[in-house]
């Protein structure tokens, strides 16, 4: 018997309370039970998004939310600025191109965050840019952006919207949708929301709705205006993923009970302990600056294949982490500490990493990283 531990940066662990809620008998989405459920969930999502904007619920992966956030707001030939600092920034570019949007890509070396000044410069060069697409947290590299500073640049502009992929940011660290003036914020269910994958969420500002009124692109399923009209009446345009929404209600209840401030400080504390533990174990984290509190990307030491670390974590210790993507494959491995996680998730992850590296012949002082994390995470009496 080998127990299994899930430390991948999505799907993340789902609390038993949520799994149980999702196992309730099916209800019909056009009936009063659903209407009551959906009203609660929509209000709680506004709390999580720190917004009074509509937060649309879509039956889709996060990528569907990203696609809708291009197709609904931009027409073919419109200009957009895309920040590419990893696989998901690259995806913004691909989606834009699929919908005929003219892309000015700010290429940031993977492992770094974007300098907001670069976005300001790009906007000066193309003041007719309709939208700027960024990641608040780039999952492929484990790097966070300074979303507030970027929002400060774009918020005052009358005809440019900021679209933030916050899929591994929302519910991890502070993203103030309304206070910072972010037009479109996207997240998915399988990250800090502690649910299985299958739902995407998108908040839409007034400025973004105005842009949608003028836009003209090809879409049907991701019709945000139609969704918003339905969802304001506690309905969805198409059949919603009912059991996921039942689980969402429970997950949001748990998150509200903890409160935003504590959720953010928990993630910050765990992420810090993970990073310090990694360093103490004689390893280096991959981010060159502003590591995301959602996950830690760890550099595979010289001569050690990151994919081998990933495989051995699973095979020898039952721990599912993630490897590197594209040109980072083999160079890094990634451990999530996002969502339903506490002290001992970090301890176990560090312990497994120490043992695997020792197994691979790397000179780790067993217990060193764990000891550092203990020092940082223990309760002071």
């Amino acid at each position: 018997m080998q127990k299994r531990y899930l430390f991948a940066p999505g799907p993340t662990q789902v609390p038993p309370e949520v799994l149980l809620a999702m196992a309730s008998p099916m209800i019909h989405h056009r009936a009063p039970d659903f209407i009551e459920l959906f009203e609660q969930v929509r209000a709680d999502l506004q709390w999580l998004f720190q917004t009074t904007n509509d937060v649309l619920v879509l039956a889709s992966s996060g990528t569907g939310g990203m696609e809708g956030s291009v197709a609904n707001f931009l027409s073919p030939g419109d200009k957009a600025i895309v920040v590419n600092m990893g696989k998901f920034g690259e995806r913004w570019g691909k989606i834009c191109k699929s919908f005929g949007v003219v892309v000015d890509e700010i290429a940031v070396e993977w492992g770094h965050s974007v300098d907001p000044g670069q976005i300001a410069d790009a906007l000066k060069k193309n003041p007719d840019t309709k939208a700027v697409f960024i990641q608040a947290s780039e999952t492929s590299t484990g790097v966070a952006n300074n979303t507030q500073a970027i929002a400060d640049i774009i918020c005052p502009l009358a005809d440019t919207i900021l679209v933030v992929d916050a899929i591994t940011a929302l519910g991890v660290f502070d993203i103030r949708t309304d206070a910072w003036g972010i037009d479109v914020v996207i997240t998915g269910s399988q990250k800090a929301l502690m649910l299985p994958p299958g739902l995407a969420f998108v908040s839409v500002s007034k400025k973004a709705w105005a842009l949608a009124d003028k836009a003209n692109n090809s879409y049907f399923y991701y019709n945000f205006k139609k969704e918003a009209e339905s969802q304001r009446k506690q309905q969805t345009a198409f059949t919603p993923a009912v059991s996921m929404i039942v689980g969402l209600k429970e997950a949001l209840r748990m998150l509200k009970e903890e409160g935003l401030e504590k959720i953010f400080s928990r993630h910050a504390r765990l992420a810090n302990a993970m990073r310090e533990g990694v360093r103490e174990a004689g390893l280096a984290i991959f981010p060159k600056e502003s590591p995301s509190n959602a996950l830690t990307a760890i550099q595979a030491p010289d001569g050690i294949d990151g994919q081998k670390v990933y495989s051995l974590l699973r095979q020898s210790y039952g721990v599912t982490a993630a490897g590197g993507q594209d040109h980072l494959k083999g160079k890094i491995f990634r451990i999530s500490h996002m969502g339903y996680v506490d002290t001992f998730d970090v301890i176990m992850a560090l312990s497994a990493v120490e043992m695997v590296l020792k197994d691979l012949g790397y000179p780790v002082l067993l217990g060193a990283g764990v000891g550092k994390a203990e020092a940082l995470l223990r309760k002071s009496i």
Copy 2:
């Protein structure tokens, strides 16, 4: 305490075995557990679809599968024939228009099925038609089409594909994807597949793939070629709805255990008993011909509001059925007998209908419809 019964035409009842499977701890979609699971599920889906074609699994409502089946195969300006015999046929037209497809709509009076000859005539008028879009079972009216006869017309054509929305047909009655030569077959999870909503499935023939190679439209999430490439490697292009796929494995196991022939004869027997019971209770079914075995649309008697029947079923008896849509609102109510249903689902539904109509002052002989169903459903010793 009022027990609840779900007889809506989707979501349908989910077996406890499936709910329990879905409540298993989350697994990672890039890890070996998922690969093994997905391989099994893909093979079982081919069995259900009666095909050797790829059956793509999408995190989406059925409508997303419909959208992808327009966007991937047709370019703006291409011609398509759409059969509109209800709300979902109408939807084919709307999706085609969203993607710039030129639509020749065959409007069939709601409650009737399409005469395959009309499709043959429309194809003669426009031999350069790229695709014909139909419903195998139109959920809004409870009418089935003669899909085989329609396939017989289109199968021999070299450059025209048949796209079948089988969302309330597959797993209810016989749809022979390969034997009849249907190019694209779509279904959703929340119908005969006995799962919550959140997954769409699409099978794609060689002829359809050849069309996709030439097509040019705007899409990213519903990229069938990219999905097929991933799914042939037991992966998905974007994060899959993992817990739904875990449930799917169990649902397919249950369906395989019963076998296709028995699944179809069970649905036929239950549907027949429902229709005969309805008539015996002094009511009329709405379909003027070829009623679908997935659900029974019942005409509200003169002077009785169908929406009132729907509401009282819920309020007085805990039974969730469905009302009519669009211009049928108030004129019909609909009872599903699709998916995880047996004798007593039909008995309970008929009993509830008898009682509600009596409550509304309609002269029903209580027990008459139920008695008829009993006569048809009892085991002869």
